[in-house]
Symmetry: C2
Subunit: 245 residues, 2 copies
Amino acid sequence: LHVQPETHPLSNLVRKLSAIGPLSEEEAAHIYGLPAIVRDFRAGHDLVREGDTPSQACVMLEGLSCRFKIVGEGAKQVFSYHIPGDIPDLQSLHISSMDHTLGTLAPSKVAFVPHRALRNMIVAHPRLGGLLWRDTLVDGSIFREWLCNIGRRSALARIAHMICELHARYDKVGMVEAGTIPFPLTQANLGDAQGLSVVHVNRVMRELKARRLISVSARQLTVLDWEALTDLGDFDPAYLHFTST
Amino acid sequence: LHVQPETHPLSNLVRKLSAIGPLSEEEAAHIYGLPAIVRDFRAGHDLVREGDTPSQACVMLEGLSCRFKIVGEGAKQVFSYHIPGDIPDLQSLHISSMDHTLGTLAPSKVAFVPHRALRNMIVAHPRLGGLLWRDTLVDGSIFREWLCNIGRRSALARIAHMICELHARYDKVGMVEAGTIPFPLTQANLGDAQGLSVVHVNRVMRELKARRLISVSARQLTVLDWEALTDLGDFDPAYLHFTST
DNA sequence: CGCCGGTTTGAAGAATTTCAAAGGGAGTGG
DNA sequence: CCACTCCCTTTGAAATTCTTCAAACCGGCG
């Protein structure tokens, strides 16, 4: 549909943005023209650290990253996962100092786009600016849903909900095949995100497998019963604010 | 400092925005010129409901409101409190459908500003648009801190942290007097925000009073030992992103 | 006075954590 | 190719935090 081939590094950014709002050919072209430095990282690399004042924004091209803070005596709290197409630290465009860290959870390919180029783009294409703003707002919406998750749902429902979210988001960028999504997360990772201990995450995962809702192997997760999983996790994708396409 | 008298209804919005970034005389004047309808509400009134598609934004002038969702079997999860100067549903400017509800927790005075007027303002004063964007990003930052709170801190630390946040934010808009802040929240409200049962909130509050960290009376809360309270709550105001002023 | 929403208390029960240790599996070096 | 290591998963059992249930209390207000 768009000018550039699907092989352009920023093509899944374009796909993601057009998933959250209409994108004209001209706007897409501007995105493809953005200066970007692409780099590969191993799992466990911090892309941006708490306290940094970045001058560029990250675009996830491949792999998985997460945002987190270290709380109190070393407990880690993860706020969000970021899959290809996401711009995890877009907020640094308007908040100079990072209040949390962004790190990879799997080997990842990341594009860095200078803030300057993004600001110019926003001036030239105010509608694109609105889309980016909207993206940061959806970000906030996801945080709110996670608050519901951690604050009010049982461990079983929490994990189920989180799997549903990942599935829905991977689906939106065309990365689901027969109910199977990439799943490089360790059980410790899951615990950090859901405020649970590793031991308990393990028991919950066992339960989900025993109920034949999911199966996990080789860093891939398959949803066996979407209906039952969304039901258990009290999952309603409205908070992801996908456009009606 | 600014053109308009402190008595203008939107003066605490101006004060709040200049607290999160520099504001020129001209920009302040534009804000004072915004069309606004001011209304009073009793406690417990829903200003905007989940599913609504508002065409105006709320500015808190007096009182207290909160954003929340009903999870599963009627459990309420509160995401944020909103004090005078806040624009709790600014996100509706770019996300048409509300994914949560905004309601008052105390008798409140609210100004409604049409989205259209805000959009015009953003076009006329891009820097103001940036400030508003920044405000929504700080919003997200607060959600993240609440995730840390609920996910990783004990009930005692959570409540302490929340009191510290309220104190810091009230302070920023000049509403703290001798360590005393407005505190219309019931213990059920606190529980809804922190993912705790009323019973447990009660015990935590008793403990905080017993430790001589706070005192509560007549819908006012006084911080008796700020140092100890911030320590207990693991509170670092960096996430509120106040400007250095 | 009596009601009502909110607070407080006690006691039992559930969910989840912590501690401790064993079991896999994939990559690495010998 | 095997042995070793490291990281992750899995399991058991005790301890803790917090919830639920139930009921009393309290203060303001009609």
